[in-house]
């Protein structure tokens, strides 16, 4: 049972997909239909944050989101992160601080932090920013460098 055409804007490109099953997760649409393998599958139960992407600039767990629920909306993955000025800064901060070991969690962290820093209208402390990153796990436990990347990106953004 498919649910009609699915229209998404993915990294600034309009895509129309036919035959997407109603129970397909955004994660699988991105990885297997669109070939955007930068978004990682970790736990597939919303517990690790590896599959985090932006939907209308808000961090979203692509493993717990039905693709059809996002019909007409705009998705940004790690492949499109540089087209977002905040995303470019975050990506570059991760590079310059060497904030990755095996790299599997990195796309999720970059997207989650981009969403958080893009959302910052209210004043919030660095501690709160780190609390808000608590949904992303690094199984290499390389958190110290990730915290440095977050501090650097936060500092560099207006």
């Amino acid at each position: 049972m498919s649910d009609g055409s699915l229209r998404l804007s993915v990294n600034g490109r309009e895509v129309v997909l036919d035959g997407v099953p109603s129970d397909e997760r955004l994660l699988d649409t991105l990885r297997w239909r669109l070939g955007l393998r930068g978004t990682k599958e970790g736990c597939r139960t919303g517990g690790c944050g590896a599959c985090t992407v932006l939907v209308d600039r808000q961090s979203t767990l692509s493993c717990l989101t039905l693709a059809h629920e996002l019909n007409g909306r705009s998705v940004t993955t790690i492949e499109g992160v540089d087209s977002d000025p905040v995303g470019r800064t975050v990506r570059s901060a991760f590079e310059r601080t060497g904030a990755l070991q095996c790299g599997y969690c990195t796309p999720g962290f970059v997207m989650a932090l981009t969403g958080l820093l893009a959302e910052r209208e209210r004043a919030s402390s660095f501690d709160e920013l780190l609390e808000d990153l608590g949904g992303n796990l690094c199984r290499c436990t390389g958190y110290a460098a990730i915290v440095r990347a977050a501090a650097l990106a936060r500092e560099e953004l207006p």
Partner: protein, 282 residues
């Protein structure tokens, strides 16, 4: 091979009509989907129809004086980001932040959390302490029930087969606090949680605890023991003793009864003290 049909009605009437077609056990309601899709993935739920509420006009937040009405499909992150919610319902703000992660809260909703009635919900205890009411719409029209009556047990609610949660109403802003204990500070399930709130109207405290089955509960005997509005250390200690001794705390796979009874005393005392300073503010 898609196991269910995804239905996205544009009006509450269409949604209710879809629910009436049933059968009840084969239709699942999807708000944010973060809990339902988890169950579908694990094959604990196998609905034939998934009814999505995404097109319904219920993504709302409305103030009427000190009362707040939250539409059932408003993402929790929007509730948390509202500066007035943080200021006037501090306990609710902290309870919302205890749910999942930011990315999860961008999709998860208050209506979904209530409707799914997880035994360890972080929102239900705070809703109990705030005397929140659930507004339901169904084939027979609208009705409201207290959260206490709405939550009927573990994963059980008083929602009728063709009813939907439209909104949740908070009758008044209250000095309040929410504290929890878990393995990971964020994005985890609470082993024990305490919600307290002080009603400026009747001058009495509300106390609810959660984290163990079957459901979050109010503790009227402990409430009565707390001096109001400013509890003395002695009355906090008496109420904490009552909680540790009499609350219907049980063990489950996440924590023992003994550990939870040990936790409830300090968590409760800290929660009351965290809520009090706000009550002295102008």
């Amino acid at each position: 091979m898609a196991p269910f049909a995804l239905v996205t009605p544009a009006t509450p009437e269409e949604a209710i009509a879809c629910l009436r077609e049933g059968p009840e056990e084969e239709v699942a309601v999807l708000a944010g989907g973060t809990d339902l899709l988890f169950d579908i993935e694990a094959r604990r739920a196998r609905p034939r129809t998934v009814l999505s509420l995404r097109r319904l006009p219920w993504r709302t937040l409305e103030w009427s004086g000190a009362a707040l009405t939250v539409g059932s499909t408003l993402p929790l992150r929007s509730l948390e980001n509202d500066p007035d919610v943080r200021l006037r319902f501090p306990g609710l703000y902290h309870a919302v932040r205890a749910v999942g992660s930011v990315a999860l809260r961008h999709r998860a909703t208050l209506g979904g959390n209530l409707g799914r009635a997880a035994p360890a919900s972080d929102l239900v205890p705070m809703l109990l302490a705030l005397d929140a009411e659930v507004d339901l719409v169904g084939p027979e029209g609208e009705r409201s029930v207290s959260v206490d009556r709405f939550i009927a047990g573990s994963r059980k609610t008083a929602r009728g087969p063709a009813e939907l949660i439209r909104s949740v109403r908070f009758p008044e802003a209250r000095p309040s606090a929410y504290l929890w204990q878990r393995v990971r500070p964020f994005h985890d399930i609470s082993h024990l949680a305490v919600a307290v709130a002080l009603s400026p109207t009747d001058g009495r405290w509300r106390v609810a605890i959660a984290g163990f089955p079957p459901r979050p509960i109010r503790l009227p005997t402990a409430e009565a023991e707390l001096d109001a509005p400013y509890p003395t250390d002695a009355s906090i200690a008496r109420a904490a003793d009552l909680l540790a001794r009499d609350a219907p705390i049980v063990a489950d796979r996440r924590a023992s009864e003994e550990y939870r009874r040990h936790l409830v005393r300090p968590l409760f005392a800290r929660a009351v003290r965290a809520a009090v300073p706000a009550s002295r503010a102008p």
